[in-house]
């Protein structure tokens, strides 16, 4: 058996490692996507007051601290059986919308977009944001930086500091915003709407205007017919901050919706011997292995699945893009994973519109931003949509509110099974006898999971932290035949 290792994956945090095993004929026998997990967070939290969780959990991850802050705040509300006042919920969602704009922008221009803007076969040194600026124009770099600055400013105004907000407490927030701040937030939000429309135009011109890319997106290589999951509001429209979790089957039929405290009735976790990370699946369907279809409990939780699991977007411009998305791609649901990049930009537009909606809400500057908890703390679950999937925090405390049990299902974990399936399928298409293993082909394997925007390791910054990308090919006896390196 031959063995090909892609280690580590470029542009992905957390030392992910792909091993591709080839058979005697040189075809793909199996693929394994291994993730060394950060250890002990849930244990580390036990014994601490639950109100510390919005501060502690946003240190789990350097990518989406705001998502952890919100899920923790909602779980802490539930633990104390307290319903925050409307202004608090709206301020949290406003902060969260600004965060989404920042996060989705960064992903498109720096991580997922370069594959399309530069092309999947472009040299690795050019497939980054500098390459995008070089190709599309300097103006785009300035806009990305501006967008990030505005997003960070809103997070700081409402959350008390940039990136790692600190103002959510059980029952609401520690502070509100002034009319002067509201005006500034509204102005920045209107700019963000224009920027999101500009980004969708870039996508339309560069990706949808290129037949080769459209064929790549619509092709079978990146298609998996699984269940889709996403948070929806009372009208079953996409919502990032609140609502119930909707699940639709591979034909697009809604299987049901569940409230945060019902998640254990819906989600179970499968264990494989070759990885520490567990594979969540739909409990009502059951684990049938790494397979597609209605009988398999594998589901995805991504921008694409959120669109599939909803009946539409709650804002007008995003709704128009939602309709265009499904009419262009042949109806609902869409299973082509590369379409996730397009779905992400539709969400970007929705987040920007929602940002302005909330910034112009008459209640947003109200001083009524906290309800004092009066009930005895017990147990609670908080769910938000992190940019990279449904995020669930589940806490149990003693009567003082001190944590006795913590369970987290983070965004990417939901997608571990579909990511593994996508990698195998992409590998089967690009690595087979007669096909030379080239950097471009291997990048297409990486594109399979990059669409999911996975994030496994969190906020570790040790230097240099990276080995050159090394591909080792072994023969049937395990002997090294060839070693390819990208950075040496």
């Amino acid at each position: 058996m031959q063995r090909i290792t892609i280690d580590p994956i470029t542009r992905l945090e957390g030392h992910g490692k792909i091993e591709i095993f080839l058979n005697e004929e040189g075809d793909v026998a199996n693929t394994y996507f291994q993730i060394p997990e950060l250890r002990g967070f849930e244990r580390f939290c036990v014994g601490r007051p639950v109100e510390e969780m919005p501060l502690l959990t946003n240190r789990i991850c350097g990518v989406c601290p705001e998502a952890h802050h919100m899920a923790a705040a909602k779980a802490a509300d539930a633990v104390y059986h307290v319903d925050p006042p409307p202004t608090a919920k709206k301020l949290r969602e406003l902060l969260y919308s600004a965060f989404y704009v920042t996060d989705h922008t960064t992903h498109f221009y720096a991580l997922g977009g370069p594959d399309f803007v530069m092309g999947p076969d472009a040299p690795v040194a050019e497939r980054n944001i500098l390459g995008v600026i070089h190709k599309v124009g300097l103006e785009i770099g300035g806009k990305v930086i501006q967008c990030r600055k505005y997003g960070h400013t809103v997070v700081e105004m409402i959350g008390g500091r940039k990136v790692h907000p600190c103002t959510s407490i059980p029952g609401g927030l520690t502070k509100g915003i002034t009319e002067e701040q509201r005006l500034e937030i509204e102005k920045m939000g209107r700019w963000a709407i224009e920027f999101a429309q500009f980004s969708l135009k870039v996508f339309g011109d560069i990706v949808l205007g290129n037949k080769a890319y459209v064929d790549l997106i619509l092709g079978d290589i990146y298609t998996h017919r699984t269940y889709s999951m996403g948070l929806v509001d009372a009208d079953n429209r996409v919502n990032f901050y609140d609502g119930k979790v909707s699940v639709v089957d591979p034909e697009g039929k809604r299987m049901g919706t569940y409230a945060p405290n019902e998640y254990t009735d819906w989600i179970a976790e499968h264990v494989e011997p070759w990885t520490y990370l567990k594979f969540p699946y739909l409990k009502k369907i059951g684990w049938k292995g790494f397979v597609d279809g209605k009988d398999s409990g594998v589901y995805m939780a991504t921008p694409l699945s959120r669109l599939n699991a909803s009946d539409g977007m709650a804002t007008p411009l995003a709704q128009a893009e939602y309709e265009k998305f499904y009419s262009t791609l042949g109806g609902k649901p869409v299973h082509q994973r590369l379409a996730t990049h397009w779905a992400r930009l539709i969400e970007l537009l929705y987040a920007a519109e929602r940002w302005v909606e909330l910034a112009t809400d008459p209640e947003i500057t109200s001083p009524n931003f906290h309800t004092v908890p009066t009930e005895k703390p017990t147990e609670g679950v908080g769910i938000v949509e992190a940019p990279r999937g449904t995020l669930t925090h589940h806490y149990t405390t003693d009567e003082r509110g001190v944590l006795t049990k913590v369970n987290l299902i983070v965004g990417t974990t939901n997608n571990y099974a579909p990511i593994s399936m996508s990698i195998k399928k992409a590998a089967e298409s690009f690595i087979r006898k007669g096909v030379v293993v080239s950097e471009g082909a291997l990048n297409r394997v990486e594109m399979a999971f990059r669409a999911y925007d996975p994030c496994f390791g969190c906020a570790t910054h040790s230097l240099p932290g990276q080995m050159p990308l090394q591909i080792t090919i072994r023969d049937a006896e395990g002997k090294e035949v060839e070693v390819l390196r990208q950075y040496c």
């Binding site: 950060l38 967070f41 570790t460 040790s462 240099p464 932290g465 990276q466």
Partner: protein, 159 residues
């Protein structure tokens, strides 16, 4: 006048990954009690890539203190110019979902941001960066004063 910043980089609750923060705090303390004052800013930060670049805007000189994993003795302190470190497109000074610090600095400079001419990295060899905890391992803990002194020496040296 040259504007300089010292950034302790890392995650304060992820074992030895928090050493950058500890060194930055020690630098702050040493400067405060020194009879030779230094007009610099000291900050703790948890992000790489574009976010770190954005934090460096407005400064002429930057020193980043971080945990390193290079296979040397645990606690060993090293100094390198960022330009001499390999520009990998993932992990660590790279933020998880954007790009490496070097590429981010390139983006910032291209778009007209005022960024440090030199970025120096002071590294402390780490042992455990994958287990949550607020404690440093003893050898890393013992290296904190030495690493802080290296930062202060660098600051006192003219570029």
């Amino acid at each position: 006048m040259t504007r300089a910043i010292v950034i302790g980089l890392g995650n304060p609750i992820l074992g030895d990954d928090g050493v950058g923060w500890r060194v930055a705090e020690e630098v702050k303390k040493q400067i405060a009690i020194s009879d030779q004052p230094l007009a610099i800013e000291v900050d703790c930060f948890s992000l790489g890539g574009l976010s770190l670049m954005e934090r460096l805007i407005g400064y002429d000189r930057a020193i980043i203190v971080d945990a390193v994993s290079t296979g040397r003795q645990i606690g060993a302190v090293s100094v390198a110019s960022l330009d001499d470190l390999p520009n990998f497109s993932s992990t660590h000074t790279t933020a998880a979902h954007d790009t490496s610090l070097q590429t981010a600095l390139g983006v910032g400079r291209k778009t007209g941001a005022h960024l440090p001419r030199t970025v120096t990295v002071v590294g402390v060899e780490a042992e455990r960066v994958y287990d949550f905890g607020e404690q440093l391992t003893p050898a890393v803990e013992a290296a904190v004063p030495q690493a802080a002194q290296r930062v202060i020496d660098l600051l006192r040296r003219k570029e």
